[in-house]
Subunit: 296 residues, 4 copies
């Protein structure tokens, strides 16, 4: 059954997510801050809104995925923001990776209009977004979660309810802490072994025969071996997520010394101008210092 | 065909490795620095030698797996060491995880007697050792590697030739750098999420649905969730391996900032008296500070 | 010449700063969020205001020193905040250590009322506050800086103009990054030497004879040697400042790997319940792990 | 009174130390591994020995200052080493910064010849060496310390007895841990402030008005501000000392997380080819990443 939806944020993830909703027959009003990204969606029948408020006007469900906490606050509260037209009963699914604290504040603000907020961070990279196979980590009311499921199912294949508002984001930040550090230390190990004289493909065979085998490093290794850092997930965004995780650690009183070290390595790689490359490009920061390349 | 073998070091790994050799019909002379660990091997027909030299006397192949660089040097060079009785043509398979530099020095010393040295570090924990399913990372001459294969096959299922002397160890140190840090940062992420209010089992479901899924954390998670730190691989030995990796990074000019941070967390946990527990006990260092337990 | 002043925040630093202003003959209206800290100021002739707005009502200059960015935002913008009564021409001197970004936002907001904002972070601990010997690091318009000088001179002996809005805070965060890390690494060094068997007083003699001699460690050493952690500057506030410095590093694209490591050690000490002690108590986190005390 | 002395190691520190002994009227036999550094000493009347053993032959006191643990072991034990000619009653003053463990081993070996060993690490840079104003940190027998004092007094102005063999080195490693980290974090702070827009000279004024003022950073700041990294103490040697300190922390069970982070920054700078510059060149690693220079 077709529902009127608003979709805000047509970036690397948002574009394919919105397209899947359009293809499923829903009636979309879409908005993106920078214009010129709407062609594919217009072709798929979507209306281009001229503001978040305009996208929200007729929507039963609003999906948003924008770059950071400030962007979410702006979409909700600034002039032309969704608060201006938000109707009681509307569900907002926010898939942006932002501060759990800011997300909870947004949940409160839209509750004042009778609407319901879900934080619904995703994992799966643009591939998963294209195939509708994302994993969603969701915080908010269980009842809203259940009501949103028909829409969520179009965009993803796994939807994990994490608890009250913000907990989907807490889970996401923990997941990226783990994943980003795994990639970084995989690179440290491979640079060490390569410098010693072990062939990268031999080292990979060892890792894959061991319990250190992991999905993300199986996926990234061939790209690292080719020096191909086309962004699946840009380094600057991973760095932003690590900063959010570090701030969450501070706020919650959780020491995170290894995250802290990994974050500075991503910071350094970003400072070298690698922010728009895939985050596996962190290997090049280490390679350049060690004077060796992990290439086959 | 039965061969005379020497086996030195009957610890958590050495004992089952030696037993597999005995069960395969080989004629073993075994030696362990501290007595009282030889009963099972005697029952399996092994002779108990009174020194490394005595264990080496009649051996075609000597297998050793002892605690650290100093122990290997002692087994080889001290009074009663294998240099005293080593015969030309003998192969020494050293599965100790030690400094690649020290290993290369030993290779030179035994070469003076016409013997051949392989560094043959293992991964797979005591389970793998018991089942003869270890993975060996091997450095040394390719021809010696080939000659040693019949013996190596009894103890392991995968044997990866890494290159010249010491490169098996270089690979092993890289592998443990990766694996130990993966476990540590998994714990940081789970403590963060748990403190926020996400259930550990929910967090694990997320990790397992994501590319951050890894063999080692799939294996350790149930133990962490029960607070069961029975040692598969003791924390103090993992810490020792990380120190060796850090020293290798220093020697080779490879910056390893994340390893450095992870090593200090294992150091802290060891300093708290957790060195004889499994290395997953590193989670308790974080838990105690954060005031939360990752338990189901 | 007596001027009507508002003073907001009567904590460990604010109380003696306000008293010096009162003693200099100025007419103060004082406000503190938690009541019961106003007795000394009432005795010195100050009026107790019932809100920041009330304290601001008649003031030519408003001085504030509160705990964090949120507290500053609240003092300025919430119901009863100073924006409600702020008059054109008023100067606000904010000595709170907060985010430079938040400070710049406040500067814009009060400018809308025709008032002028200075960020004026201080260093010198409560001793310096009592004696009117603080050092101020100041950002804002040079002309406002000059106009505020008569008031600033009562509270401090050194006033360093750092540039435009927020730069006093940037300097302060850099200064605390340096100072806090110096104290932490001084403790690492002393724990190492003490564990080896060097007497702490011998180690101090060495440091004092070397270029590693520093004001802060000369000051802290006797307290460390006695295990006296009466707060001159509480550990939790130093940790907060390090978090702000780390966030500034992130925002400005400056890698700060050593700050990141030091911050996690303060985090750990805070997590152990040492947040209200002096920040030199960071030594006890290291001592407890190392199993040795740096005591004479 | 003139005494026959052996002096081994004529590097950046050793050369001026030996010259001061020659100028004081002592009869020197000098040895340096790489030839061509002996001209100044020959001019001052020293005999050039062709091996450490030759330098030791007639000496009552042997002073040595060489690059690392391996070099000390070689000077003592290899063919042509001092053990070959060492006489009972001789004192060896070793001012090399090496592993305390190796130093203790050397002390045992020379004791077998009836000689006495002092570890006598120095601080003060080449300036202090030239002026005879070094500070010595000394481990060994108190009685040997007293006997060596007339010679020590020619080379330094302060001689601190730290305890038994190796403790002078333990103190030295702690001192360099502190000093190197102070310089590194000073650079982090200055890069942060400079990137924000604070002038380096303003930031220095702040530091010098605060308790964060330190001898080493007062000394290094003008060189940093000019980008002049002529080596007073080369970065690669400071990095080596930090590695020794980290290994001592490992051996003694002392967590040193901030040292670990600082060491990796020096490692990175060394990897960039800055090892022969002064260790203050660590600032350039941070500057290049941050895209700003701390220059006046």
């Amino acid at each position: 059954m077709s529902e009127p939806l608003g979709f805000i944020g047509l970036g690397i993830m948002g574009q394919p997510m919105a397209l899947n909703l359009a293809k499923a027959g829903h009636k979309l009003a879409v908005y993106n801050r920078t214009p010129g990204k709407t062609a594919a969606l217009e072709a798929a029948g979507a209306r281009v809104a001229d503001s978040p408020a305009d996208a929200a006007r007729d929507a039963n469900v609003i999906i948003m995925i924008v770059s950071d906490s400030a962007a979410v606050e702006s979409v909700v509260t600034s002039k032309g923001g969704i608060l201006e037209t938000l109707r009681s009963g509307t569900i907002i699914i926010d898939s942006s990776t932002i501060s759990p604290t800011v997300s909870r504040k947004m949940a409160c603000m839209v509750a004042g209009k009778g609407a319901s907020w879900l934080d619904a961070a995703v994992t799966g990279s643009k591939h998963g977004a294209e195939k509708g196979e994302l994993t969603f980590m969701i915080g908010g009311d269980r009842e809203t979660f259940d009501r949103a499921m028909p829409i969520l199912k179009i965009m993803g294949k796994k939807h994990i309810y994490c608890g009250s508002h913000g907990l989907g984001l807490s889970a996401k930040l923990a997941q990226n802490t783990i994943q980003a550090t795994m990639v970084e230390v995989f690179c440290e190990g491979f640079v060490l072994a390569t410098k010693a004289g072990v062939k990268p493909e031999t080292m990979l065979e060892i890792i894959q025969a061991s319990m250190a085998r992991a999905g993300i490093t199986d996926f990234k290794a061939p790209f690292i071996f080719k020096g191909d850092f086309t962004p699946y997930f840009p380094l600057k965004l991973m760095h932003k997520d690590l900063e959010l995780a570090a701030e969450a650690g501070y706020a919650q009183g959780v020491p995170m010394p290894v995250l802290a070290a990994a974050k500075e390595v991503y910071m350094a790689a970003k400072a070298q101008g690698k922010g728009d490359q895939d985050y596996a490009a962190v290997v090049t920061f280490l390679e350049e210092l060690a004077g060796v390349k992990v290439r086959t």
